[in-house]
Symmetry: C2
Subunit: 261 residues, 2 copies
DNA sequence: TTCGTAAATGAATGGCATTCATTTAGTGGT
DNA sequence: ACCACTAAATGAATGCCATTCATTTACGAA
């Protein structure tokens, strides 16, 4: 008997709601009212969208593209902790269950986001620059994009490429670049996997706290490590994550370059 | 008024419980009964542990070591999806809230597990073998241990070493090995970070589905990548994750070796 | 007109980590 | 010997979460 019930917050019909509690006749008994006949208050308060009746709307509210961009907006504002199906639905002025007409699970949403991000990775240097410079630009770009989205890494790392067309397109660009650079066909995928593994691991480093290696009270029992940490801190003014990434990437590039014929 | 209430499953006093429902006087009114005076059924049915009264037990049931090994057992049996605070408590015949006297959060449990695993990584070759061979053995061992525990990677990657003494001990061994091999002090940490990043990323690969790179219906639009995938499949009979790991690791070892003096 | 399907709402459901009041046991001080 | 304090357990919430299902409504094809 829903004579009194709550609504989604931030998704209220001001004509009927007081203090977050809606009072009135139950929805089934309320006469339908076409959108064009709604009170003028609706158009003057766009920040409080009109409540949608149950049932299929005249024009679809959701699709995968809309969900993807809302998810990205939400991640930008609230981070991955804030990305819940409920919050995503709220940001789209929709009931949580409505999302499941377009995605089968939250993981699906993450895959949509991942594939969008893959399209932001810069592969333009392949074909335009020497292979090693192209790999360098691609790798830095790839790391920078995903260092802001590390919660996706466990998803990407085991994601079949079929489910991610933009990601696949990225692999195609890199594959073509390596083939033209003289990499033997059968080593290309392994080389990409090796580079990508390094990139994913390095993306986490970017987000690590600055004092992650401070041995604290255990400094005496770890003299070699402690000295190495101190020496790094004294030496460089670059970000430690960038130094390590550069070091490893250059090692990989020169090591993999030896495979070419 | 708990005259009728449920118990934790698998944690029942057979003398008082029927069909998962306990009938009888509430705990406050039940006379206390010392453990030595308990019915003999207790000792003959150890698989159904006696229900513990509320209040501090005579000897402590939990500590961090007990929690850690229970967590590892649970992970082995049910995977990380099965590692919940409730399941962990159940496996220890304890109420979930009891765990919080010894850890502050589930993340704490993961850190305990991580640090235990770090002690399983083989660093014995440092000092006993040439530096490159020592790095090789360490890296393979490290990857193998954590490929079965990938959900820990997001935790480790940003974990201050102070909170993980065994992990710190591992770093100390590697640092000493690299110093003795002639690596300049200020490059040692960066080298370890680069290797570790590659290792973490590669640990995910191990768990990826075999057909992760099958382009499916999009094969025509990705000729270079498709050819590379096919060529790898035809070529090798080794596990693709192992081939890529070997390739990248050897590249890193030879690249980093150039830093020595 | 009727029927089937797509896309929305609304109301559960069960599981989750965590918190808090309460109970009990040991310990250190007077 | 008593008393206060603290540690370590239980039991009962709390609030959030992803997901499911019945229901409602709209549109398009037969």
């Amino acid at each position: 008997m829903p004579f009194i019930y709550e609504n989604y917050s931030g998704f209220r019909d001001v004509t009927e709601v007081v203090n977050g509690i809606m009072l009135g006749t139950p929805p089934a008994e309320r006469p339908t009212m076409p959108a064009t006949a709604r009170p003028a208050t609706d158009s003057r308060q766009p920040e409080i969208p009109a409540k949608r009746r149950a049932g299929r709307p005249s024009s679809a509210v959701l699709d995968q593209a809309v969900i993807t961009s809302a998810a990205l907006r939400l991640i930008g504002k609230s981070g991955y902790d804030g990305l819940t199906m409920a919050a995503l639905a709220r940001s789209l002025h929709v009931a949580p269950s409505a999302l499941y007409n377009h995605v089968t699970s939250k993981r699906d949403v993450l895959v949509l986001v991942e594939d969008h991000l893959a399209s932001l990775v810069d592969v333009s240097a392949f074909g335009a620059e020497p292979w090693d410079e192209a790999v360098r630009q691609w790798a830095w770009s790839y790391r920078d994009v995903f260092s802001k989205h590390t919660p996706l890494i466990p998803v990407i790392a085991v994601l079949p490429v079929t489910d991610a067309p933009q990601t696949l397109a990225m692999y195609e660009s890199v594959s073509e670049g390596l083939r033209q650079a003289g990499f033997p066909q059968e080593r290309i995928v392994s080389s990409i996997v090796a580079l990508e593994s390094f990139i994913f691991g390095s993306a986490y480093d970017v987000t690590a706290p600055a004092d992650i290696f401070d041995p604290g009270s255990m400094a005496e029992s770890t003299p070699n490590f402690t000295a190495a940490v101190r020496s790094l801190a004294e030496q460089g003014h670059e970000k430690p994550a960038d130094v390590a990434f550069s070091l490893g990437l250059e090692a990989l590039i020169s090591g993999l370059g030896a495979l070419r014929r």
